[in-house]
């Protein structure tokens, strides 16, 4: 009789778990499905009612060695008065990449200092106003300067370290655990560094109401640049997780992946993993576009 009771209990538990579990899994799956960029309407920057952004919070993952070299080459071409502040995320023990960041930022700072020469705006953190003021027709200079001052209290760039998702030659069996560890670090980091508040993304406006003036309409953007290897998966997953939790697209960073110059016919492991997750996926050889139609080829980038 006890056995009978136990069997009934087990059956009841199984049914209850199934009743809760299966819908839960289905909800999560559909949530994930609709959070993937290819299944979302792209309303982010396509709307004509949205005016030019003021700055773009730029988070850059550096994967050491050749990955770091290629990524810093990409970053070196950006207008650092637009792409500010810059947050660099490196592997836990990757001192060499940190050193290269400092070297690049000295160059960028020098570049931005020459850009702002004679503009008289304070740019001690490398956030110059030259091109910005020149480009912003009708924007009151007062507002611009106050914006830069408020962001001037923080550094133009910061460096953060996260545990690697997978070490060289690490077994595939233990990889989920190390990935989980870097995900735990990545989630608060992504929230703190890359996610925007509603008022940053839509200053002085309510959703659905047309933007009033140019100055008021200037919003903030956020982008996350990645080029592998695997550790950047944790960052991308953290962003996808935020979207699954309901954070609107324009408050999460745009996920941009750039496949390495070394990849001619096949994607890297990181590339294959991030291909379905990223909002933009650049490759450096035209043959890859045929195999991966969501990818984009605009020439060699490094």
């Amino acid at each position: 009789m006890d056995l009978h009771l136990a069997a009934n209990l087990a059956l009841a538990t199984a049914i209850t778990l199934a009743l809760i579990g299966i819908p839960l899994i289905l909800i999560l799956a559909s949530r994930l499905w609709s959070s993937l960029p290819q299944n979302r309407p792209r309303h982010k920057h396509s709307s004509a009612t949205i005016t030019r952004p003021l700055t773009c919070t730029t988070t850059i993952f550096l994967g050491s060695g050749g990955h770091t070299a290629e990524m810093l080459q990409l970053v070196s071409g950006l207008d650092c008065t637009h792409y500010t502040p810059r947050h660099y995320v490196v592997g836990w023990d990757d001192d060499s990449s940190v050193e290269k960041v400092h070297r690049l930022e000295i160059l960028l700072g020098a570049k931005s200092a020459t850009n702002t020469e004679g503009q008289g705006a304070g740019s001690r953190s490398g956030t110059g106003t030259g091109p910005e003021a020149g480009a912003g027709a009708g924007v009151s200079a007062d507002r611009l300067i106050s914006d830069i001052k408020s962001s001037g209290s923080e550094l133009a760039y910061t460096v953060h370290r996260i545990p690697r998702s997978r070490h060289v030659h690490q077994s595939m069996l233990t990889t989920p655990f190390t990935l989980a560890k870097s995900l735990l670090v990545a989630m608060p980091l992504i929230k703190r560094l890359t996610c925007l508040t509603k008022s940053e993304a839509h200053p002085n406006t309510e959703v659905g109401r047309p933007l009033s003036t140019d100055a008021a309409g200037r919003s903030r953007r956020s982008v996350l640049l990645m080029n592998g290897p695997g550790t950047c998966l944790a960052l991308a997953l953290a962003v996808i997780g935020a979207r699954m939790a309901g954070v609107p697209d324009d408050q999460t960073p745009d996920l941009v992946f750039v496949e390495s110059f070394a990849r001619v016919k096949t994607l890297s492991l990181a590339g294959r993993l991030l291909y379905p997750l990223c909002d933009a996926f650049l490759v450096q050889w035209p043959g890859l576009v045929q195999r991966y139609p969501r990818s984009k080829y605009i020439g060699i980038l490094v």
């Binding site: 773009c56 071409g77 950006l78 605009i298």
Partner: protein
């Protein structure tokens, strides 16, 4: 007037390339083309004792001055001084050499499991930016002298990426 040849394996281990570079037959070919110096950056791969007996030795047979070392934090200076670079097929070394507009022969390591190096070497060879070969065909590639008539690799165009991102982010 050709002068220095640099053989580099980067941070990889590529015993066969180092062995080939140390071989008298290859050094003879280089000497017969008028090269006077050979620098071998051999990383973790061993160099044969005849080559290393002194770090700066004139190879008795070919008359080539041979210089070997394991690694430097930056190979740039040695690349700049070289007239011909014979390199492993890592993308970093390839890019660095191409940017300096050097005559470049890239040797694919066939012992590596991942063969995407071969793909990169092949496609750049097709476009005549470099010569791609394997250790076994290195001497033949040298003799074919194709490396003497390569196309200059375009300079980096950082505006491609910045224009793309600017358009995307709305600047």
């Amino acid at each position: 007037m050709p002068g220095t040849v640099l053989v580099t394996v980067g941070s990889t281990q590529f015993d066969k390339l180092v062995a080939a570079a140390s071989s008298p037959s290859l050094q003879h070919i280089l000497a017969s083309y008028g090269y006077s110096h050979l620098t071998i950056q051999h990383g973790k791969s061993p160099v044969s004792s005849t080559t290393t007996s002194t770090t700066n030795s004139t190879s008795h047979e070919s008359g080539l001055q041979v210089n070997t070392y394991t690694y430097k934090s930056s190979l740039r200076e040695d690349m700049e001084q070289a007239d011909l670079i014979i390199s492993h097929a890592g993308s970093g070394s390839i890019l660095e050499a191409l940017r300096l507009n050097k005559k470049l022969i890239v040797v694919v390591n066939e012992d590596l499991m991942d063969n995407h190096q071969q793909e990169l070497g092949d496609v750049l060879h097709e476009q005549h930016y470099l010569v791609c070969c394997t250790v076994s065909t290195l001497e033949k590639s040298l003799q074919a002298k194709e490396y003497e008539s390569l196309e200059p690799f375009p300079q980096p165009d950082t505006t491609r990426f910045s224009n793309f991102l600017d358009a995307r982010m709305g600047f």
